[in-house]
Symmetry: C2
Subunit: 428 residues, 2 copies
C-alpha cells in the first residue's frame, strides 16, 4: 500500500461512563471515519475520565501523538454540570484564563427566557465561560458551543459528547474551519474514498485473487477489513487523479470478485437481499432451526422490510418442523434433522405456509453439544427456494456457537441473493 502523507489527527473522548463500559463509544468510530474521509490519518483514539488531571493527561498524549500541524478532536465534558470539567482542564493545560463570553451569555439567557425561566440557572452560566482566545462553533442542537484553540501549531477542537450535537457541529460549523486550516494551500486535499463489500469468500482466497493489487496499488490505498460476515475493501486516494485512480481500482476489484460482491446502503447483506426481492417483486419467508430467528431479525433490522418479508418459523424441535412446516416425519427419521432434505422440506413448507415466493430452510448444529462423527458441531444444512429455482447443501462452519450461527445466517442470505440474481440457477 502506498499513498501520500496525510496530516495526523487524534481523538480524545472524555467521560467516566466510557471507562466503566456503561456506554459503547460510538463517537470515536464516527469521528475516525469522518476524519479519515476528510483526508487525515487518525493515529490514536484515547478515552479518559472526568477528573481534570485525566483530561489534561489525555490532551497531552493526543497532542504528542499528532505533533505540529496536527489536529486533536475532543468530545465530552462541556455541559453545565459540575462533572463537566473539560473547559477548566483545557484552560489550565494551556495556561489560559476562562473568560465569560458576553455574546454567548446573552444567547444562553435568551434561550432560557424563551423556555419560561426568569434567569439563567447558575450551572448553565458556566457554559458561557470559555478559554481565552477560543473560537466558538455555534451549536444549534444544544447549549454548549464547540471550541477551537490553536496551541503550538496544533489545532484542538472541543465538542459536546452528545452524538447528535457532536455530528451537527462537525458536519456544519467545523467543516469550514477544517477546510480553511487543512485543505487549503499546503493541505493534502479531500481524499476520494469508495468501498466494496464481499461475502462468501474467505479472506485468504480473496487475497489470492487480488494479490498483485495488494502488493502494488499504485496511486491508491487499498485496505482490507475482514469480519465473520465477510471482507470489506476500502479504496482511497488523494491528489488531482484521485477520482480516476479510485474508479479504475474499483472496476478491477468488481470484475475479479463479482460473485461475492453485494451492495447495500447500510452495508448489510440482509438489506441487499430485501432490495433484490423488492426489485423482483418477490415475497420471502424463513424456516430457521439452529439460527433460531437470526435471519428474520436481520431482515427486519431494515425499515420497510414488511413489504417483502412475510415471516418465519423458528422450528427448534422436530415436532415444530412437522407441525408448523409440514416436514414429513419419515424424512426426519431417514435423513436426520440436519440434512439437505430436511432443509429443503423446511423451505418449501415456509413458502407454502406463508404463501411466499421464496424461502430458506436452515437446520444445523451450533454446539457446543449435539455434534457427532459424521455431523460435527458447525454442520448446517441450508436450502433456498425461489421462483428461479432451488439450491442448497450441507456446509461446515468454524467457530463457536455464536460464530457458527452468524456464518450460517450470512450464508443463507448470500444464497438467496445469488439465486435471485441468477435466473439459471439449478433446479433442486
Amino acid at each position: 500500500m502506498t499513498g501520500h502523507t496525510l496530516p495526523r489527527a487524534a481523538i480524545l473522548t472524555i467521560g467516566d461512563e466510557l471507562l466503566k463500559g456503561e456506554r459503547v463509544d460510538t463517537n470515536s468510530a464516527w469521528l475516525a471515519r469522518h476524519l479519515t474521509r476528510s483526508g487525515f490519518r487518525v493515529t490514536e483514539v484515547v478515552s479518559v475520565g472526568d477528573p481534570p488531571e485525566e483530561i489534561r493527561h489525555g490532551l497531552r498524549e493526543a497532542r504528542a501523538v499528532v505533533g505540529e500541524g496536527g489536529l486533536v478532536v475532543a468530545t465530552g465534558g462541556l455541559g453545565p454540570t459540575l462533572d463537566d470539567r473539560t473547559r477548566d482542564a483545557v484552560a489550565e493545560e494551556f495556561g489560559r484564563e476562562l473568560v465569560e463570553d458576553p455574546e454567548l451569555l446573552a444567547e444562553l439567557e435568551a434561550r432560557f427566557r424563551s423556555r419560561g425561566f426568569d434567569a439563567l440557572p447558575t450551572p448553565n452560566r458556566r457554559v458561557a465561560r470559555v478559554p481565552e482566545g477560543a473560537r466558538l462553533l455555534p451549536n444549534r442542537e444544544g447549549t454548549a458551543p464547540g471550541l477551537v484553540l490553536e496551541e503550538a501549531g496544533i489545532m484542538v477542537v472541543l465538542l459536546p459528547g452528545v452524538p447528535a450535537e457532536m455530528r451537527h457541529l462537525v458536519e456544519g460549523p467545523f467543516r469550514e474551519v477544517l477546510e480553511e486550516r487543512f485543505q487549503g494551500r499546503g493541505g493534502a486535499g479531500v481524499p476520494v474514498v469508495r468501498s466494496i463489500r464481499t461475502t462468501g469468500i474467505p479472506e485468504s482466497a480473496l487475497a489470492e485473487r487480488i494479490e498483485d493489487l495488494l502488493s502494488d496499488t499504485g496511486a491508491v490505498n487499498l485496505a482490507s477489513l475482514p469480519s465473520v460476515l465477510g471482507v470489506e475493501l476500502v479504496v482511497s486516494a488523494t491528489g488531482p487523479d484521485a477520482q480516476r485512480s479510485v474508479e479504475e481500482m474499483m472496476d478491477t476489484l468488481l470484475r475479479r470478485l463479482e460473485p461475492w460482491v453485494y451492495d447495500a446502503p447500510s452495508g448489510d447483506l440482509a438489506e441487499a437481499v430485501l432490495l433484490r426481492m423488492r426489485a423482483s417483486g418477490w415475497t420471502v419467508a424463513m424456516a430457521e432451526s439452529c439460527t433460531a430467528g437470526l435471519v428474520s431479525k436481520r431482515l427486519t433490522d431494515h425499515p420497510g422490510a414488511s413489504e417483502v418479508f412475510l415471516g418465519g418459523v423458528v422450528a427448534y424441535s422436530n415436532t415444530a418442523k412437522e407441525a408448523l412446516l409440514g416436514v414429513p416425519e419419515a424424512l426426519l427419521r431417514e435423513h436426520g434433522a440436519v440434512s439437505a432434505e430436511v432443509a429443503r422440506a423446511m423451505a418449501r413448507g415456509a413458502c407454502r405456509r406463508f404463501g411466499a415466493d421464496a424461502a430458506v430452510g436452515i437446520t444445523g448444529i451450533a454446539g457446543p453439544g449435539g455434534g457427532s462423527e459424521t455431523k460435527p458441531v458447525g454442520t448446517v444444512a441450508i436450502w433456498t427456494v425461489t421462483p428461479h429455482g432451488e439450491t442448497g447443501g450441507v456446509e461446515r462452519f468454524p467457530g463457536g456457537r455464536e460464530e457458527i450461527r452468524a456464518r450460517a445466517a450470512q450464508h443463507a442470505l448470500h444464497g438467496l441473493l445469488q439465486v435471485a440474481s441468477n435466473p439459471w440457477a439449478r433446479d433442486g
Copy 2:
C-alpha cells in the same frame, strides 16, 4: 460513593480499522465493564494502529497510566497475517525474544491436520512464536492463544481482537490469572465484588429507591451501570470487613429492588428465563411480530435451550398471524394488529401450535414508519401465557427502531420470568 483504592487498569485496542472508523470498538466497552465489575478502576482506553511503533507507543502509554501493580489488557493483532504485529511489538518493547512454543506448535499442527491440511501453513506457524516467558491462555474459539506477561510490576495481557475469542478468554482462562494475581494474598487490594442485575425499572426510578445508599455507601463502592436492557449495580469493597460489608449492601439492594432483579450466570435475562422454565418443567414458544425473531434468537444464544424452547413464529404480516397462529381475522380488524387482544391471540396460538406450556405474543410498531396518533412508533403489545396465568398490555418504548425492538424483547422476557415466578399472577 466512597470506598477504597482499587487497582488500576488500562485497555489498549489495536487495529488500523479502529482508527479509520470502519468498525465500532465494542471490545473496549465490554472489557471496561468486565474490569469494573472485577474490582478495577479503568483509567484509560487507548486505540492504536497496526504498525509496531504505534503498538509500542500505546503500550508505554497504557503502562504509564496504570503504574506499578496495575493491569494492561490489549486486544488485536495476534492473528497469522503479516499485519498482525502485536507479538513482535511487545517482544521488542520488553526486550524479549520471540520463541516458538513447541506445545502450541504441535496443537496448531494437529488442528490443521484435522481440517485436512498436510502441514501447518507458514503464516499460521507465526502464531506459535510467543515472547519469552509469556504465559499462554488456551483459546478454544480460535487459533491464537492469549498471552500474559509481567514487566516492572505491571501485568500485560494480550488477547485476540475477535470479540467471541476475547470474551471466551477473559471469562475462562484469564479469570484464574486475575484472581491469583489481584484478588489473592499480596494482590493490590483483595476486592470483594458482587453485582446484581435489574431490568424493567428506569435508572432514575432505581436511583430514587436507593438514593440514601448512593450518597453514603459506607465501606463499599457502589457503581451503577445502565444500558438499554437494564441497570447493573456493582458492589465492591476491600479490607478485612469487605465480605460482610458487601453482603450487607447486597441484602439491602435485593430487598429494595426485588421485583426487578434477575440472576443468570451469563448475565443475560434470556438465560434466567430458560433456567426458570427448566425448574418449572415448562416448555416455551414465541410469537413475534415487530421483534421478528429477536427473543427466539436470545433464548437460543444459550446452549441447551432446546430442552425448554420449542420454537417460534415470526408473524410479520397479518396473513401470517392468521395462517400460522390462528389469530382471528375479525380480531385484527377490530383491534388492529398492535393490540393486547392480538398479542394474546398470538401467544395462545403459539402455545397451541407448538404444544408449549408457555408463550409470549409481541406485536408493535418499531418505526420509523407505521406510527399513528393513537399508536405512535414505540407502541408494542406484549402478552404472556403460562400455566400460572396470563398477563400483558400495551407498552410504549423510547428510542429508534433497534432500541425499541431491544426493549420490547427484554420486556417480554421479563414478563415471562415474573409470571413464572409468581403463581398468583392475574388471569387474563
